[in-house]
């Protein structure tokens, strides 16, 4: 019977899990080594997408998550009142376009497979695409409209989930770093190394719990490591460019068809694909890049040059727009490109909710529901088995030898 949970990490996933557990009556303590909502959750665009995933477990999770957001946004607004900043949730819609003749058919075929599993993916003519996005490069070769792609302000969403969790009794402590696990068993202070995990040691006091959940994004591997457990999640860096405020000319999330290709690739070399969207503040965001450079935050001009160049292929008018800012973040990616949600089969008492790569914001709510169902042994809205740490595609990454290969 789980009645006390420690959650390591106060990003969007930790926040969503904290709220879901607290609402279910569980006593929750969230431990965050830095500031809340300031890691990867603060470095993305707030994408809630169904367009970028092919049929499979992750798409199922995304479709389910997509249905949860409107209800949650309304609940939080009621709960937290008008004084709390707006989450800026908008079902803005996505438009994926092919920019080469060779890319047209694969894009349309991909959309067709998504339709078969219930995604609203509408192939539109180039003329209709230009009606949706008048400033789009008219030389595109194919387009698919996804009305269900949505947008939220991710930092405000995470802070709102935490605020709600607090109202339901959760404790959120920032500036506290977890240093290891406490295990049940007699003898040594940390208990029997193979015993059930019953809490954590920190840079402040120990915290006891029935379950410890690691939701630390790309740093989850490091946290797991302090507990003697291997979690093969790695950082995959992305850069975003931000323009100055300008008259509104981009109305949806617009991507070239390379976007979903890049997410599925494990190639370590730089990958870029174009993503362009406007924000409520009147700026335009340009993405996206994927590189494996560890946690190196330093600027690389060649990366942002490539992002800029690809954005101009979609929207030539942007050539004269000014970039005023660039920021980067580290997506947490698992070697088989699926998040891990559930109990660690090797370490009872330890749970995971991480590895969401670039989809963490959207998937956070569904992740929380799956996790709560598993923890409290209640019916799960979706089959959680594909996200288990014990899935076949992860097996070789969990063995000690794979440490060097990583």
């Amino acid at each position: 019977m789980i009645s006390d949970v420690v959650i390591v990490g106060a990003g969007i996933v930790g926040a969503a899990c904290a709220r879901a557990l607290a609402v279910a009556g569980v006593r929750v303590t969230v431990l965050e080594r830095g500031a809340a909502a300031s890691g990867t959750s603060a470095k993305g665009e707030g994408n809630l997408l169904v367009s970028d995933k092919g049929p499979g477990a992750e798409l199922d999770l995304a479709v389910y998550a997509s249905s949860l957001w409107p209800t949650l946004v309304a609940e939080l607004a009621d709960e937290l009142g008008p004084g709390f900043p707006s989450l800026e949730y908008e079902r803005k819609g996505g438009l994926v376009v092919a920019t080469t003749d060779a890319g047209a058919e694969p894009l349309l075929a991909f959309a067709s497979t998504q339709r078969e599993v219930g995604v609203d993916a509408r192939a539109v003519s180039v003329t209709d695409a230009l009606a949706l996005e008048p400033w789009l490069n008219p030389a595109i070769t194919a387009a698919v409209h996804y009305p269900d792609d949505a947008q939220v302000q991710p930092v405000i969403a995470a802070e709102a989930l935490l605020a709600s969790a607090r109202r339901h009794g959760a404790i959120v402590r920032t500036g506290v770093t977890v240093t290891g696990a406490i295990r049940a068993g007699s003898g040594a202070p940390a208990g029997d190394p193979s015993g059930r995990i019953t809490g954590v040691t920190t840079t402040e006091a120990d915290v006891r719990a029935d379950a410890v959940l690691i939701a630390a994004g790309p740093w989850s591997g490091e946290v797991a490591g302090t507990m003697g457990v291997r979690l093969p999640v790695k950082p995959r860096r992305g850069m975003v460019l931000v323009t100055t405020r300008m008259p509104h000319r981009v109305f949806h999330k617009v991507y070239d068809g390379d976007y979903f290709g890049a997410t599925q690739s494990s190639d370590a070399a730089l990958q870029t694909s174009s993503v362009v969207e406007s924000t409520a503040a009147g700026t335009v965001l340009l993405g996206s890049s994927r590189e494996q450079v560890g946690f190196d935050e330093r600027l690389r001009v060649d990366v942002i040059r490539e992002v800029a160049g690809k954005a101009l292929r979609l929207f030539p008018f942007l050539a004269d727009a000014s970039i005023m800012r660039t920021y980067g973040g580290f997506r947490p990616f698992m070697p088989d490109h699926l998040p891990v949600i559930g109990e660690d089969h090797r370490a009872p008492g330890l749970w995971h909710a991480s590895g969401h790569e670039g989809a963490g914001i959207g998937l956070s709510l569904a992740t929380a529901e799956l996790l709560v169902a598993a923890m409290l042994d209640t019916p799960s809205p979706l089959d959680a088995a594909p996200f288990g740490l014990d899935r076949a595609s992860l097996a070789r990454h969990l063995s000690p030898e794979s440490e060097e290969a990583a």
Binding site: V155, E159, G309, R313, I323
Partner: protein, 516 residues
Amino acid sequence: MSPASAASAATPASAARTVYAATPASAARTVLVIGAGPAGLAAAKAARERGASVTLLDAADATGGQYWRHLPASRPSANERALHHGWSTYTALHDELDRDPGCEVVLGAQVWAIEQADAAGQPAPVAVHVLVGPPDGTARRGRTFRPDALVLATGAHDRTLPFPGWDLPGVFTAGAAQAFAKGERVALGERVVIAGAGPFLLPVAASVAATGAKVLGVYEASRVSALVKGWLPKPWQLVGAAKKGGELAGYVGTHLRHRIPYVTGRAVVAAHGTDRVEAVTVAEVDADWSPIAGTERRIEVDAVCVSHGFTPRLELPIAAGCELTPDRFVRVDDGQGTSVPGVYAAGEITGIGGVDAALAEGEIAGHVAAGGSPRDADLAAAVGARRTFTGFAARIEAAHGIRQGWTSWLEDDTVVCRCEEVPYGRLRETREATCASGLRSMKLTTRAGLGICQGRICGRTVEQLIGATGEAGEASAPATSVTTDRRPIASPLRIGELAGRDPNTITHRASEKGHP
């Protein structure tokens, strides 16, 4: 002098400084200097004297920086020197470098990014990316420099604390008044109040008076006792700073001639007007800068020029990987070397010390960047001057540094972030509603600091108001910290300029919405 002996020599008199790895002397070193104000000009000259090949960059279309901001060549005058201090020093520096084939002066040169060595995959300490052309142009020429050594002399800008009505037209920084008086002969008003803190207010008042405007008063927030304490703890050092004393004596003289009141322990606590400033409220403030109730006076004005000190321009040093001191200046050793081998810093970015410190530091930085040693005999005068005038900087801060009581003159609707129009009340409410402790979360939630100026004006104020000091370890690892001074894009640039003017374009079909 060999690097080994340079590293082992003890540093006399002043507190021991860390000595970073000395750069090896070599023939024809390339030295890039960013900033052509006093520090940068001195650095370029000193580097040339050691035989380096020098490139001197400035974003403006003239050298001189802010201190020697002057009229353009198209507006010649017989006696421009009357507006300046040390004009001959400037013209000598400028003319020498301008004539020197070994020094390339590139004006209209906007540095927009600096990449650190291994991040860029290059052997040089940094890659410096520049756009040359009209300010904020759309098709400027891109140049990338990979010098053997880099000298950063990017200077500082006014730190102006918010107060009710400061966003009204007619409220300016003191630096704006100075720039337009000296650079354009424009008076920003006819009835002008100058306020804030620091010795800079005095030359500003003189410049404004020299445009024919009436300066109604100079209001310095620091109290007399603090001034005395700050300026005179070591009178023998003040003797060494006679030139500075001389400069100030001139300003005080101007004041007497123009009969401008100089009043301490006073602050402008509000500006009033509908669409422009029409009046200000000046109040007495206590030693903590809290306004004292009942002391408010209303003064009718048409311009207010306010500066509470200076913020160093740190985005380029931070981009280059330079460590900062706890009080957020670039950390340098006795050769003006930063924590990054091959990168040097001089002038206001190492501490607000004024023109004399900048000239001394610039000379040392240029000399060492070009392969010399701070212990070389020809640097002795500069080393001595640096000691005198950087000591001065510490005393200016002690006398005029911002005191925390100023926040009590804020109202809930006082704009704090000018670009995004974020009022003080919203910062407080958001902080309470989210229990936010982090600067990044607060920025993204309120948008404070996310506008076009990227926190240059409001950043340090927002940090102070929300009580955030960034994340752990910030002071020593600026490249990975949340500090508001970190801006990887150091200046806006066009997407077309970033992409390179022939990006991978798709073949266009004719269309009424088609664009080139």
